[in-house]
Symmetry: C2
Subunit: 430 residues, 2 copies
Amino acid sequence: MVDIATRVHNHNWRIDPIVRSLIDTDFYKLLMCQSVFRNKPDTSVTFSLINRSKSVRLAELIDEGELREQLDHVRSLSLSRGESTWLRGNTFYGKRQMFRPDFMEWFEALRLPDYHLEKRDGQYELTFEGTWPEVMLWEIPALAVLMELRSRAFLKNMGKFELEVLYARAMARVWEKVERLRALPALKLADFGTRRRHGFLWQDWCVQALQEGLGDKFIGTSNCRIAMRRDIEAIGTNAHELPMVYAALANNDAELAQAPYQVLADWHEEHDGNLRVMLPDTYGTAGFLKNAPDWLASWTGIRIDSGDPATGAETAIQWWQERGEDPSEKLVIFSDGLDVAEIEKLYAQFHGRVKVSFGWGTMLTNDFRGLVPGDGLAPFSMVCKAISANGRPTVKLSDNANKAMGPAEEIARYKRVFGVGEQQAAEIFV
Amino acid sequence: MVDIATRVHNHNWRIDPIVRSLIDTDFYKLLMCQSVFRNKPDTSVTFSLINRSKSVRLAELIDEGELREQLDHVRSLSLSRGESTWLRGNTFYGKRQMFRPDFMEWFEALRLPDYHLEKRDGQYELTFEGTWPEVMLWEIPALAVLMELRSRAFLKNMGKFELEVLYARAMARVWEKVERLRALPALKLADFGTRRRHGFLWQDWCVQALQEGLGDKFIGTSNCRIAMRRDIEAIGTNAHELPMVYAALANNDAELAQAPYQVLADWHEEHDGNLRVMLPDTYGTAGFLKNAPDWLASWTGIRIDSGDPATGAETAIQWWQERGEDPSEKLVIFSDGLDVAEIEKLYAQFHGRVKVSFGWGTMLTNDFRGLVPGDGLAPFSMVCKAISANGRPTVKLSDNANKAMGPAEEIARYKRVFGVGEQQAAEIFV
């Protein structure tokens, strides 16, 4: 029977919104937002979209009017009563009331600030300015909107059956991956694929495939909206933006050298257990660990997000041993550009030596490589980053020279302050 | 929004019926039924299910209670008003009122006769007895019920995502075939896949895939229900049961030798144009053509349904030339165990020399080979045939010794009467 009400409802949509909820975002953005709201609420920041895949000429693929409609729609969103209830009442990482009442009141009243959009050289320049807690929440929806509009631009030229077969092939591919992964007996894996997903519905399908196919090996999703909808764990800790902004705010080299540790000191006060996971690569993993204060060695784990992941994990294991910690009690989360082959390899190398966990992103939620002529649905590398704080440029080095960002003279200064020497440069796919 | 009415309706189904309409059958069954209703209405026949794939032990796979429920449901069916209107009012093969009022009145009142079901040696013995016009309509629903119950027996042990991925893979496979076929510029192809389909919904999907993917190259479906539902041509002419029963009714060898031509003489009176398509292989194509009356050479075409198809078509071309006919004006329909590779090969060999057309069956609507462990969804070879008429056994020889059926002494007699010598034996897949 025809569902007339749904049809009529659909007719009345002005647009088909890509992001329909303020919590259709990564859990760690909310954790970080609360931390920033507490520790640096008045910092002025600028976030900017950066498409590292210059060959994907977004301004030629995506209509500016459609893009503005989607971004305007995101600005119209506010936390729903059910979402607020879920955030206030749910248990995250075993803890009730993770989100404090003062933060929730602020969040309930929040609308995202304005954006600035221009076309240049076939790309969109999209920037967001304002106070840090507000602007930072643009990152994930901005990426998701651009990713999905680019998918839609391609999909709208396809027929009904081509579409059905496209998704049939993509589903078969995801399921083959799931079948390979479930052969790993002690696997722990989470969906980290919100920001570069093919689309919301596709991410939601992928999460259900992991639920059904991996059972207990699937530990949750970074996406709060999907975690709420599917009644599963929301997963995530913290990201590069914290040390990047803290570092930009430093008034001298001494403060700069301490900035990454100051981030974690603030985090240490707020969180314990599995939320005490450090991200050491912002200004080079080796130097970060060498100069780290002793209390950091007691933290639960580490997230490896750039450079050769096996090298990063071996470095961390050696560091824990030097600091008198038992690596087998420590958590290592791999999250950089993973696909099944890398997960299998890293699992084989580290399972048993440390507690291994995987945050699987783009190759879970957007592996449409090779499925259409011209590969117009293949994922590409786009980020949305803090580029300045209180008028000062931010810098990121990471463990991959190709991921470095910031003004050249500032990069040189950061390399000197953090003692970063020669770095490997690896191609960035996603 | 939840479609409550549909849900409640579904809750109230006693069973989930496999065959929901008396016209969920092949068009040629209705054409033949009308011919039989006119020419041989009082003939008593027995039809029997024959599973040529002995390794598929249907009685161990399919619950007898479920099978009886489905067969009983088929017996409860009668022609709906809309179906009757479609049969009476539609144009078939360019002709209005293909079905005569006396036949339609009889059909509107029809319920299928009883069945006899027993288990023996891991198989079901399923037979139907009664007058020919009634019993013959059991063939397609009986096959479709057994085929789909065997699919369902396997599918019920699969999870939601395994199912989704199974169909995703099957869809991708059908679409790859469609993409290969549409490269043939003057292709004419029909769906002949009702009897050994994976299931009704799947056949309906395959038909839509052909509609979308092949456009004008897709000329229609043998399934009346789907032709009506999708507003496309119903396709089909006549089958082996006519000469088999006519032959069994013959009182001596002279009448037997004439029986196949008597079938076509009756058909000649009723039909013209594209419905004048002979099926020459029941008792050997070579002898049939050699002894055929001259008026048969004027017929529109021939259907090649056993033996090596290229040989059969070359034999027909040579025969037309001997009888002074222009083969390029003649229609050759290939319909035996086709898949894409055979279609491509036959098209390359015969396109331009004759009008080529393809009736694509099992490998269209049931190619689930290799998609599940143990290949429990692979199609298998099952038929439902007239085994006796007015108490006398029927015989079929065909152009493949492995397809011969009937008592040994009768097979020997038929071979003598029809001058059939040594025959090739080819493996039967479907």
